[in-house]
């Protein structure tokens, strides 16, 4: 029987990472790579979609990353989609299969998947926001009959920045998934929709009372997407967001991820809009 990774921390130190191995690295775009991490022995991450881990490159530091793989496809490994954007991610991008990294987690509150059974699910990832939502999307697709419609509206700034293109093709090919992709700026070869992600929303026909929406993206996107979703009549408690903060410790101590009185690492990162709409520091 596999042991959840998080249970190994209580006896030692919550800050002590477990040494894991990079099993595979796959470039997704110029800036993003998908890392497959393999835990040692019988350990498995046992995460929920939307949760995050703290990943260490020893000697450089540690940073939080949302888990990109579905729990339904874990098997002792998990995937992180990492954009090269700072010291830790620079160092990580220089690593390859076989190299050691430190792992702590999983941390935070993910999406409560079981609560969405029977609902129509509308996914709105913007840019790197597809990384955490891919975990939930694949879990939903692996138990497809439990849910109503599955609609994915994905927006990126430019065709070259689209993540998981092979999976987007797979999802699009399925009859039980509705996929639309848009880019803010086109290039010569782009045949698809051009415009920000919000331009896709008005065209979608929804039965609002039975729809749950999931949106993950940069803060500026949330403001516009929320207006559209609320305008469609989707309830505030049925719009889920994942908020990005610099969760340094992951256990509600270091203070970096506070949103007013909430700790993103404990209370989030996944929140229903109803819970955060009155928090001035949320969006």
């Amino acid at each position: 029987m596999s042991l959840p990774l998080i249970e190994t921390f209580s006896t030692t130190s919550a800050y002590l990472p477990l040494v894991a191995r990079i099993a595979d690295v796959r470039p997704l775009t110029q800036l993003e790579k998908l890392f497959t991490i393999e835990l040692p022995g019988d350990l498995s991450l046992k995460h929920a979609p939307g949760q995050f881990v703290e990943l260490s490159v020893f000697g450089v530091g540690e940073a939080p990353f949302s888990i990109s793989s579905s729990p339904s496809r874990s098997n002792g490994t998990f995937e992180l989609c990492v954009r090269q954007a700072g010291q830790v991610t620079d160092a990580l991008h220089a690593l390859g299969p076989g190299d050691a990294v430190g792992v702590r987690g999983p941390f935070g509150r993910g999406f409560p998947v079981r609560r969405f059974r029977g609902k129509d699910l509308l996914f709105l990832p913007g840019g790197l926001g597809l990384a955490p939502l891919r975990s939930l999307i694949n879990q939903v697709l692996d138990e497809r009959s439990n849910y109503g419609r599955v609609i994915i509206l994905y927006g990126a700034r430019h065709p070259s920045e689209l993540l998981f293109q092979d999976e987007l093709t797979l999802w699009s090919a399925r009859e039980d998934v509705e996929v639309q992709v848009t880019v803010d700026r086109s290039d010569g070869n782009w045949q698809g929709h051009v415009g920000v992600i919000t331009t896709l929303i008005p065209e979608v026909q929804l039965y609002a009372p039975n729809t749950v929406a999931f949106t993950v993206g940069p803060p500026v996107m949330y403001r516009f997407v929320l207006v559209e979703l609320l305008g469609k009549g989707i309830r505030e408690g049925n719009i889920w967001l994942s908020l990005e903060r610099r969760m340094k410790c992951g256990i509600g101590k270091c203070g970096h991820c506070q949103i007013n009185h909430l700790y993103t690492c404990l209370d989030g990162p996944c929140f229903p809009y109803a819970q955060i709409k009155r928090l001035e520091e949320a969006l």
């Binding site: 000697g59 954007a85 101590k253 506070q258």
Partner: protein, 369 residues
């Protein structure tokens, strides 16, 4: 209450006995006072400063100190502490837990309340073993304040000018003797082999009560709002102009958080050795007053003005922690006000917010007749 009495002269022997078994830390004079007096300015001698430091003997102990520069949190949460060392790119990791048996002697009750708050923060949910290890091996000897230490202190308002329910050993100065209250087994252990101690007589109890009750009139209230009102006062003051004004003054230097007995925000940093495969991971103090504290990888800063950062600190102390712990996050020690380079003082800030509300509700009453 089981009261013991110890003559002050026995302190030398007591510290000696303790030093054989513990690392003894207490308030003492800051040694290297190298303050340059401006030419011609002979009016003000440099103010004596006190620190919590390891005692070489009872002669160093200054139990009538007003306050220390840094609170005793530095014992449990050093400014920089090693969490673990690693070798071979992390394949070999050695955890560092500090389990030295320690006594902190002469803690004021405000600082004792602060330690209890840190205990809550570090023990709830996933416990912080590095803090817990130090805390478990430390015994606190607190001392009753009989005089207010500074006009910046508002301990009476915050309810921290008297002892909390939880303590190890508590001293009260009775003149030539100390009254000792024993609050825990850890505290009682400190009295082992102490020869000069005796059980209090009825007269001692009478003297003790006299000393304690004389405190009331000596300590002033400095806040115009009651402790119980502070969370709601802040709840209606989020968009107050006061925060913008303070933001204009504030230098963002983080001194207030460094000297605060209840501030515990930290950062985690790695240091690598020359071989590039071994090194150490440290925890270092951080401050919510620093720019970048709330920023993320893409560069977005979720608290991008000094006004917003200062407001966050006040809300964390006087509202968020009160809401979640049932204890205010400030103990009213006044260190931040003493240390602030531009004289931002919590007493003034709270009174200003309160006066604004009183003025507004006064107007409203007029309108309503």
């Amino acid at each position: 209450m089981n009261l013991q009495v110890l003559p002050k002269g026995a302190l030398v022997e007591w510290i000696e006995l303790l030093s054989a078994r513990y690392r003894v830390i207490g308030p003492k004079r800051k040694q290297e006072v190298v303050q340059q007096q401006p030419a011609g300015d002979t009016q003000q001698p440099p103010r004596e400063q006190y620190i919590f430091g390891e005692l070489q003997g009872a002669h160093e102990l200054e139990l009538s100190y007003p306050s220390t520069i840094l609170p005793p949190k530095k014992v449990f949460l050093p400014q920089k502490e090693e969490l673990f060392s690693f070798k071979d790119n992390g394949h070999q990791v050695d955890l560092q837990l500090d389990e030295r048996r320690t006594v902190i002697f002469g803690i004021h009750t405000c600082d004792l309340h602060a330690v209890l708050l840190l205990d809550q923060a570090f023990s709830q949910g996933a416990a912080d073993q590095h803090y817990m290890a130090r805390r478990a091996n430390t015994t606190l000897v607190s001392i009753e304040c009989l005089e207010p230490c500074s006009e910046n202190a508002f301990c009476k308002d915050m309810g921290t000018w008297i002892m909390p329910e939880t303590f190890d050993l508590h001293l009260t100065d009775l003149g030539h003797e100390y009254a000792l209250e024993i609050g825990s087994a850890k505290g009682s252990e400190l009295l082992q082999n102490l020869t000069n101690i005796r059980t209090a007589t009825e007269t001692d109890y009478w003297r003790f009560n006299q000393v304690i009750s004389a405190k009331w009139a000596r300590f002033p209230y400095r806040l115009e709002a009651d402790l119980s009102e502070l969370p709601s006062l802040l709840a209606i003051s989020y968009r107050s102009q006061v925060w913008e004004e303070l933001g204009q003054q504030c230098l963002g230097c983080g001194t207030c958080t460094a000297v605060c007995p209840t501030c515990y925000c930290f950062d985690v940093v790695d240091e690598v050795n020359f071989d590039l495969t071994s090194g150490k991971r440290f925890r270092v103090w951080d401050s919510c007053q620093f720019g970048q504290f709330a920023s993320v990888a893409g560069g977005h800063d979720f608290r991008n003005s000094r006004a917003a950062r200062l407001r966050h600190r006040f809300y964390h102390k006087f509202k968020y922690q009160s809401d979640s712990f049932g204890l205010a996050g400030c103990v009213g020690c006044g260190r931040c006000a003493e240390a602030c380079l531009v004289n931002i003082k919590p007493i003034d800030v709270i009174n200003k917010l309160h006066r604004k509300r009183v003025a507004v509700s006064g107007k409203r009453q007029e309108v309503m007749g």
